[in-house]
Amino acid sequence: MNAKTLRALAPLVAVAVALLVPLVVSDRFILKVFTFAGINALVVVGLALLFGYAGQVSLGHAAFMGLGAYTSAFCTVELEWPWLLGFVAAGAVAAFGGLILAIPALRLKGYYLAMATLGFGLLMSLAFTEARPITGGVDGFTGIPFPSLGPLEIRSAASLYWLVWGAVGIAVLVAHNITSLRPGRAMRALHGSELGAQACGVDIVGVKVRTFVVSALMAGLAGALYAGVVGFVSPSVFTLTASITFIAMTIVGGTSSLAGPILAAVALTLVQYVDALIPGLPRETAQTIQSYQEDIYGLAIVLVVIFAPRGLAGLWKRRNAGGETP
């Protein structure tokens, strides 16, 4: 097994290790924190494909997550569909939303997509709050059942954790297949030079649109998982701040990598729950860290873009390549 296969398998190994966590950790709250980290990681895998491989930024992925969460909640509570069907519907609705947004926006250059997704995200925030009959308005949507697969209800902290990280594992597999096969080569070509890629016969708009739809799909599924894990959805979760958090995780994690963004997603999620993870931490210190959390995200974006544009993954690869940059 050469180094290249090893590197390609690293994310899978990491997910496998992650799946063992509940056997070691018994604290339910800590397991829940890691479950949230997995939900964020699922969104970030999609964004990593979009940003790291196709060179596009989205400031609206919290909205796709919200679309998925509300769809799943509506289908399971109001329509009384089985959870799995609601889960599929959540992915479908988010992917469809992504398609509608992507086709026109991606004909244009990068900053238009960033602005279009920002506008879309703010519009959806507004819709989640105002469409009271469907979303429950500001009060949110309550009484969402636990996820279930047929007769098997998933409600213990450990099994929810496995469900979420299992989904992350599948997402990584899918993403890894996309990036290592023909679409991945097209994406990398795109990142290098759009004109060059186009000259070689790459359908650049098609590649970008498909990547965007896949990333929206993953965000939608993450939203459905969130709704099932928490049992409650409200508009305050799917805001611009959340979208920026996802982008921070993706940028810090690095381009052309899945392991980097996943690690960054876990690390930056843990910052939010620092008080639960370090038991001896004084309350004030924890609160200070939490009140500066968004500063950390913002500053991380700025510093990484200026000093390490390929992110953590880039730093790691450069170190292993003995300072040689590709």
């Binding site: 947004l101 879309f120 703010l122 913002g298």
Partner: protein
């Protein structure tokens, strides 16, 4: 009829604010080819800094000018610290830096000024003017006057001064401008300072009518961008026209339908224009750099 006129006044008032923000986007876009996602934060900073200066006891006119100058300085510092290191690079990187920078500026405002909404006293006390059944607040007249003054001054500087010519030369072609002795890097810094100053002017002028808070930057930024792209990005005149158009659309939608739609209008306009006519409605098609 008077209802229509009242909506018209409200639309032109908000439209002037959007026009100033849109001008800020235009100035940075022409200088760097990138969209400055922190533009709305300069609007927020202008209002918040001005309120704080008046609370420190400065008279309002002094506080207003000082707040605009301070925000312009922050804009220049923002360029020097965050944008300069990656200047001339892929505009996407500049965009990402401004996204992160916007978060940092907003959070700084939160830590310094606190989470509460702040209000500013009107520039001149007095009853609203009434004519043809329409009431016009004095502050609205201030907003119109200051916007007009800013646009005229900007046009004068850009067209008639050596400095303005250097700015335009840099916008057209950076390396060629450098060949004839223009300090192109300096021009980008000045562009950010100008854009920040215009944003701050809008923030200060509107603060007496709508309270301000640390979090108002994002939505006003998006609206300003919607205005800029509605007219056709990169052109100051269409930016102003786009701002006024957006303000009117919003005002009539909120007035004749439901106030709930007010924020939605700008967002829908933004998406529609991006999708249908990304070169803008007011410029000829085919000139767009896609």
């Amino acid at each position: 009829m008077s209802e229509f006129l009242q909506f018209l006044v409200a639309g032109l008032k908000n439209g002037s604010i959007y026009a100033l923000i849109a001008l800020g986007f235009t100035i940075v876009y022409t200088a760097t080819g990138a969209i400055n996602f922190a533009q709305g934060e300069f609007f927020m900073l202008g209002g918040m800094i001005c309120v704080s200066f008046t609370e420190l006891g400065l008279p309002l006119p002094v506080a207003a000018v000082a707040a605009i100058a301070a925000t312009a300085a922050i804009g220049a510092a923002f360029e020097l610290l965050a944008v300069r290191p990656i200047a001339g690079d892929n505009p996407l990187r500049i965009i990402m830096v401004t996204i992160g920078g916007a978060v940092v500026l907003r959070q700084l405002a939160l830590h310094i000024f606190g989470p509460d909404e702040r209000a500013l006293a009107p520039f001149t006390e007095g009853a609203s003017l009434k004519a043809l059944g329409v009431a016009v607040e004095l502050q609205t007249l201030w907003i119109w006057g200051l916007t007009a003054l800013a646009v005229v001054l900007l046009a004068f500087v850009y067209r008639k001064t050596t400095f303005g010519r250097a700015m335009r030369a840099t916008a057209i072609r950076r390396d060629a401008a450098r060949l004839v002795g223009v300090n192109a890097g300096m021009m980008v810094t000045v562009a950010f300072a100008l854009a920040a100053g215009l944003g701050a002017l809008a923030g200060v002028a509107v603060a007496p009518l709508t309270q301000t808070a640390f979090g108002v930057g994002a939505i006003i930024g998006v609206k300003g961008f919607a205005a800029a792209i509605l007219g056709g990005i990169g052109n100051p005149i269409t930016a102003v026209a786009g701002g006024l158009m957006l303000g009117l659309l919003e005002s009539f939608a909120a007035g004749y339908f439901d106030p709930v739609y007010k924020d939605g209008v700008a967002l829908v306009v933004l998406l529609l224009v991006l999708f249908v006519a990304p070169q803008g409605l007011l410029v000829r098609a085919g000139r767009v750099k896609v």
